[in-house]
Every structure is written in C-alpha cells, then in structure tokens.
Symmetry: C2
Subunit: 190 residues, 2 copies
C-alpha cells in the first residue's frame, strides 16, 4: 500500500454507486470512479478487479453468513428451520445497508449483464446452501429443494424489502415469505 | 427459402449437438455445423441467430406450454395446483426429448456462459408464471412466491430426470418435488 488512504474501499464504493446512478453503469469508467473518490486508479485495482466487482463484492460475506447461520442451527432442527436461520443471518447483513441495497438494485435493474451476474450469485448461494444441508445429513432431493426454495423466498422478500421505505427489516419479509410458501404448498391462497 | 431442404432445422440442431459434444461448444463454428448437416451457412442463419440459439430455441415452446397449462387450470384451483398444471405441461414437452435434453445438459454444464444463459431462461419462466398467476387473480407476494418455488421444483426435478436412464418421466419427478417441498415447508424431513 502507498500513502495512508482512510476507508479507500468504502470511498470507492460510494463514488462508483453515485456515478452508476448518475450516468449509468456502462458509461462509467474506473478512472472516473477513482477521481470522484479522490484516489488513484492503482488504488481502485488494489480493492476491486473491475467496475462490476464493486456491485458484487458483498456476495462472499452474504454467502458466509447464510452458510454460517444454517450450519449453526441446532442439529435436531428440521431442514427448513436451518434454511430459515441461514436466511435470517444473511438478512441481518443487508439490513445494515438498506439505502445502498436500494441504489444497487436500481443500477442492476437497468443493465442486462448485471442482472445475469445477479442470477449467477443467487444460484451460487443456493448451491452453497444445498451443500451445507447435505453436510447436516439432509439427503437429496430434499437438500436441493429446501435450498432452492429458500433462495426463492429470499429473492421475493428482497424485492419487497428494497421497495419499502420503512422500519421493516428484510428478516420480517423472509419470515412472511416462508409462512406464505408453506401455506401455498399446502394448497392455500395466502 | 432456396432449394427444398427437408427438416433443415432438425438436421442443424443434431449436427450442432454432435459437434458441441465432440469438440466443445466454444471450439465449434457455424461453418462446421452447416457442413456436418450438409447445408449452407445461409440456411443455418435462416433458422438460428447464432450457435448459442440452437441450445435455447426450445425455450419459447416451453414457456408457452408452462403458461398455457397454468392458465388452463380450473379457475377455482388453488395457486399451487395451477403451477403444478403448468409444470406438467412443460414436462410433457421435454419427455419427448430425453436423449437430446441429456446431451444438452452436458454441453451447458461445461460452459459458464451457457450456464448463465440457462439461469436467465429459468428466471424468464418464473416471471412468466408469476404474471400468469396474477392474471388469475393471485395477489403479491403469493404469485411471485408460487412461481419462483415452482421453478425451483422444476429445476431440481429436471436435474434428477436428466441423470436418470429409465422409463420415469419428468412429470413424475415434478410431482415428487412438489410433495417433497410441501413436506419440507411444514417442517418435515422427506
């Protein structure tokens, strides 16, 4: 590292998000992001591989919490309770960043390539949850079904949460989604 | 159209699938596909926009059957029964093409770009199902939840069906998946 650059990562992220929102993701260059943040391009590349990674750098933490929450559920918990624990742990990460999540969602919705990348991220999260369930002794196809359904609930809850300006956390939307899906699968009309 | 080219589309598809399997998707050119099929490049481009489209040309029919099956369920049917009817209609299309689906799956599994495209296809199917459910009067978030969960079941069922050499149809795996997810959501250990 060169000179002392306090919170370079956070500054770069904020600059990138501002520029993506102002002039569009495609039109923004790394040079402009670094300039807006008052940093050099070299510093940008010490923190992010490219301008897309700024939007997906949080995926690793999200997956870590999801899997950690799931693995931390009591060994006797049924699979869906372990999934719910994982989703709640992931939701807690995002709840600290509602304005950023909102802005990020708008940027992604405006760009097909970013939407594809987001789908890849969700598929990776589902795969990681499936693996964590199998590690708990859940057999196939139950592990894959519970993982894919968990991500389906998370996806729907996320869209509702991001659209909401209010005190309601993502975790509340996740719980509502799990209850709603339970009712639907039993033939209900929630 | 130029001269009479019986089943040009089917011949191009078969030639493409053979070449993708033999030498890999990335290494195959449109020129080679046309040559193997005994047709011209011009004929190829009359049927497919590019070599990727050969693998995804069936998506439109799949979506049509999915939505048609769902819309055709009795108006009084609960949302999940309408979803099940849609999934069964889609499964019937694929059941006629098990060897091709198997080969296609192997090709897609070997290429990250194709996997992304497949995720986009599944997301489009889920969006179309959500819309068809809302057209039946199902409110949000139930419509999105039922649609996303339906696609989750279909995805897991598809992987199991494609891995199976046997008389069991995709529809049977779908039914098993729906029952499995119902049990999981209710706290079961299927």
């Amino acid at each position: 590292m060169g000179r002392w650059e306090p919170n370079a990562r956070g500054r770069l992220e904020q600059a990138a998000m501002e520029l993506y929102a102002e002039r569009g993701y495609e039109q923004t260059t790394v040079t402009e992001i670094a300039k807006r943040a008052g940093l050099t391009e070299r510093t940008f590349f010490r923190h992010y591989a490219d301008k897309r990674e700024v939007l997906f750098a949080g995926s690793a933490l999200l997956q870590e919490r999801l899997v950690g929450g799931l693995a931390g559920a009591p060994p006797s918990a049924p699979p869906i309770d372990a999934v719910a624990a994982g989703l709640q742990a992931a939701a807690a990460v995002l709840d600290e960043r509602h304005p950023q999540a909102r802005q990020r969602q708008r940027i992604i919705a405006a760009n097909a390539e970013l939407q594809e990348r987001e789908l890849v991220k969700l598929a990776s999260l589902a795969a990681a949850m499936g693996e964590a369930l199998r590690a708990r002794g859940v057999s196939e196809p139950a592990a894959s079904l519970a993982a894919e359904a968990g991500i389906a609930v998370f996806k729907v809850a996320f869209v509702r949460w991001v659209d909401t300006i209010g005190a309601r956390g993502l975790g509340a939307f996740v719980l509502e989604g799990l209850a709603g899906l339970e009712s639907l699968m039993a033939g209900g009309r929630p």
